[in-house]
């Protein structure tokens, strides 16, 4: 009872502070200095129609590399700590089969979801979305395959190959930017087209495809290891 009262008082105090902040705010006219630089120079320099993409991939590309590295570390730690059940010993978990309608529907829908994910990360420089979103959509396709068939085993080696190769290519393109263009992860190593056309923005679609494949492979690997953990007792 006392604990709840304390929590209520805490929430009330926080609400009061936020209300004060809300009352005293002043509407900012125009953009900040960094934001106005991105919106003015971004399309001209990177030739990408989506300014968020040009910031994420080019101006702050090193941060994106760090995020991908963190995701890789998380996936490998989960794979390390959640032990897989051995091949010889029978898996104790009883999983009920899914209905026939779901199995038939998933045969149509899993490739469609993969296709949507590829569309999202290939079109990242033109429309909302990009590598992380496309990777999450691809992992959702893996989820659907698991739901339709609980003992689904396809693509386990492909995931590990994709994970390693895409990481190598990402750093490779970044290093190529040092030699062929202005700096690490510069997108002008390929010819930049016109803003808004499909083949434009230099290396941004290539980098986003690599990020999408890597994120999709890592999230799928996490799902595989979450599914295959040994049951307690």
């Amino acid at each position: 009872m006392l604990k709840k009262l304390f929590a209520l008082i805490l929430i009330g105090g926080l609400g009061l502070i936020f209300f004060q902040l809300y009352n005293q705010r002043s509407r900012r006219e125009g953009l900040t200095k960094t934001a106005s630089y991105y919106t003015e120079k971004g399309p001209a320099e990177t030739r990408s129609a989506n300014i968020v993409t040009s910031v994420v991939v080019t101006y702050r590309g090193l941060d994106t590399l760090g995020e991908v590295t963190i995701l890789f570390a998380a996936a490998s730690i989960i794979g390390f700590f959640l032990k897989r059940s051995e091949k010889g010993s029978k898996d104790k978990t009883i999983r009920n089969q899914s209905s026939e309608l779901l199995q038939t529907g998933s045969m149509l829908l899993v490739p469609l979801i993969f296709l949507l994910g590829i569309y999202v990360f290939v079109n990242g420089h033109l429309s909302p979305g990009g590598g992380f979103q496309g990777g999450a959509i691809i992992a959702s396709g893996t989820v659907l395959a698991f739901l339709a068939n609980p003992s689904f085993e396809g693509g386990r080696t492909l995931i590990h190959i994709l994970e390693s190769l895409s990481g190598m290519f990402y750093v490779g393109i970044g290093v190529a930017g040092i030699f062929l263009a202005a700096g690490f992860l510069d997108n002008r190593i390929f010819p930049t087209g016109n803003v808004g056309s499909f083949i434009s923005a230099g290396a941004i679609p290539v980098i986003y495809s690599i990020i999408g494949l890597k994120v999709g492979a890592e999230l799928s690997a996490i799902l595989y290891s979450l599914r295959d953990t040994k049951e307690q007792q």
């Binding site: 899914s98 209905s99 309608l101 779901l102 529907g105 149509l108 829908l109 469609l112």
Partner: protein
């Protein structure tokens, strides 16, 4: 051109009325089986009508709207079927006390 806009807006209105009726069915129906029936059928039709109305208002959006209708028409029955199957297997109580789908004959 103007006729197309007005008919698109009316189709949109019809679709939103179906959405409201579906949601009302979800609130008012007595047991989960009736609710899933009202909530899936009416809202699927309502979404299709809303997308068609938007397609009449903006003819250049038609490809994306067709893809959207296609996805909804495929995915919606699958999810409601799986949920209804689970409810039947776990013997959720019916409102009418008489199970027409029960396996054992008397």
């Amino acid at each position: 051109m103007h006729i197309l806009h007005i008919s698109g807006a009316i189709t949109l209105l019809a679709g939103s009325i179906f959405l409201v009726l579906g949601a009302l069915g979800v609130v008012r129906m007595p047991d989960p089986f009736n609710r899933i029936q009202a909530g899936t059928k009416a809202t699927t039709l309502g979404t299709i009508l809303v997308m068609s109305g938007l397609g009449m208002l903006h003819p250049s959006w038609l490809p994306k709207l067709f893809i959207l209708i296609f996805f909804i028409v495929i995915t919606n029955p699958i999810s409601s079927h799986v949920l209804a199957r689970v409810m039947h297997n776990l013997q959720v109580p019916l409102w009418s006390k008489k199970d027409q789908l029960s396996e054992e004959e008397e």
